[in-house]
Symmetry: D2
Amino acid sequence: MTLNNSQARLFSFVQRIETLLEERKGINEGISDIKTEAKSAGFDNKVIMQMIRERAMSQAEREEWQSLCELYRATLGMLDGTPMSDNARRHMSRDEKDDREAGVDDMFDPTPEPEPAASPAEARGQGAEAFRSGKRVTENPFPAGDPARASWDEGWCSEAGSDGMDIPPEWRRSPKKAEKGDEA
Amino acid sequence: MTLNNSQARLFSFVQRIETLLEERKGINEGISDIKTEAKSAGFDNKVIMQMIRERAMSQAEREEWQSLCELYRATLGMLDGTPMSDNARRHMSRDEKDDREAGVDDMFDPTPEPEPAASPAEARGQGAEAFRSGKRVTENPFPAGDPARASWDEGWCSEAGSDGMDIPPEWRRSPKKAEKGDEA
Amino acid sequence: MTLNNSQARLFSFVQRIETLLEERKGINEGISDIKTEAKSAGFDNKVIMQMIRERAMSQAEREEWQSLCELYRATLGMLDGTPMSDNARRHMSRDEKDDREAGVDDMFDPTPEPEPAASPAEARGQGAEAFRSGKRVTENPFPAGDPARASWDEGWCSEAGSDGMDIPPEWRRSPKKAEKGDEA
Amino acid sequence: MTLNNSQARLFSFVQRIETLLEERKGINEGISDIKTEAKSAGFDNKVIMQMIRERAMSQAEREEWQSLCELYRATLGMLDGTPMSDNARRHMSRDEKDDREAGVDDMFDPTPEPEPAASPAEARGQGAEAFRSGKRVTENPFPAGDPARASWDEGWCSEAGSDGMDIPPEWRRSPKKAEKGDEA
DNA sequence: CGTGACTCTTTAGAGC
DNA sequence: GCTCTAAAGAGTCACG
């Protein structure tokens, strides 16, 4: 019997798809089983799935995504006391690298002079003023753990977004490269 | 090294899920390939997927679904010239089976008397009148191929849905049984 | 204050989207409410949604979709006793319209000669034979209500799909027209 | 005319749903328009949607979610140079609040003694050692901007997850409270 | 081809 | 502990 007829071919297509759908169903059940096990071990499956999503990105993609989120968060005043990460600061300063050697290198000053305590509002004002003075976001003077650090960030970003300039290039996302095998 | 620690267990869960997700991705690509092949062979993938869905139902479920669709279509005047199927007629008469032996058996009369030609509007009126006379939907006098057959159905169903009665039981879907291995 | 700055524009976009999402949420709740009401009135919401989908199609699209489903069903032997509709027969014969005036017109013969009773297997064989004799699917001799009618269809379609021909054109879906305002 | 009949009620349900679907379609188009506008203004819509999602959470939910993500990230060695946030440290120390007054208050020491420069590997080892010494994650000695800060976190978290203990309570998500109007 | 929307399946949460 | 409901995710389809 030749396969070259409509009926047999249709049957073939239908059955091959059904087989694969069946296998997929089995895999989905396997995933559910693992999640059940993880849950009863005390893990949070939603967070686990988020980790899996992040592991699927290249490190560069991951950093860019998180940097943009932090930038937008700071601009919208949603930092909630969490200062921006160094990666985000670096990301925001990447276009100035020709000016100074820049970003990450001089971002860490091992012996900062102690900054006097500042209220959130004061720190916000200082951040805004720092932007107006041409300072970069990497120059936030407050150390980790200081609640003023996040406020300064919000002030700086808010001011950076307020002075009538167009969207600066670091707000834009890098176009995806051809990403050859970076899923490892 | 004992597996009984949070870090190793977390890693394990993450990797097991990732493996399965990877397999699932492969299967999805296989399905897509088959669809591409079917499409270029001239088949309509949407219809193929519909067939697969229907093959996954038991025959009873399939018939009930189609009967309900036809019933609603007739009531909404959307038959477009397609008379209801015998299955749907039978489905709609299932609650009267105690009255008469019923439905399918006497639905087919091999020697019907010829019905004089009727316009759609006339046939619709006759269907409505038939309902009022207590006739069942299985008693549509027009033969297959007669355009009046669908119109009679619409008239009957419309009248059946119009006389202030509550929703009759055959409009309701049968509750799903525990369905033990009925996917054959 | 000028709106021409990043921060204010970002806020604006965010809030406008949030407003619309909020409205959409309200609408979705409205839909859910109606479905709840319909369900408690005894209707089947899945069927209702199907009707809405069909009402959104033009009559021609609707008929083509259903015809293709019936054709595939017949080929796969899934008619379950439901003969194909006249629309589907017409659809399958549309490419022969030049031969004879065609399809619907002569599909209904008000005085068919009575066909002797046939078992499903016999009817199936007769359908296949009819195809081989060059008969069209519109010439199914069994009347509505006769269980043999569907079997004849299955036989005819199965044979039509089995003779090594390529997929006939009526299996293919018509390309969508520009459909200008046909949603009425 | 009484509405108390099947046909009219079905029509009513169908049309009411259709109306709402139509409105929803309009809203979706509005959202698309705004996104198009935002995109051409240089914003990243994906990030905007993420911000909207976060704005819909209460601050407590947002912080817990991000803390758990950071904790898992640290355990899986995915910090990529971004130290954990103070919120996450606080979250992880919340069950020790009875021991010492705790967490946020003493987390910020305005005059830390300068820490000698450390390589990532050294810092990781110091973090692990710190955990074994009973130190809390809030006691990371490296300042913001120091690349060693994140490494110390990874070491600490990794060790915390490795010592055969059961999942500590702070890994678990807080059960959702009845949340009466906390979306502000 | 890539994005968005809609449906449906699965999963998490609440109540008995 | 189990069921039921509501929400989230994945998949598919259509549009630009």
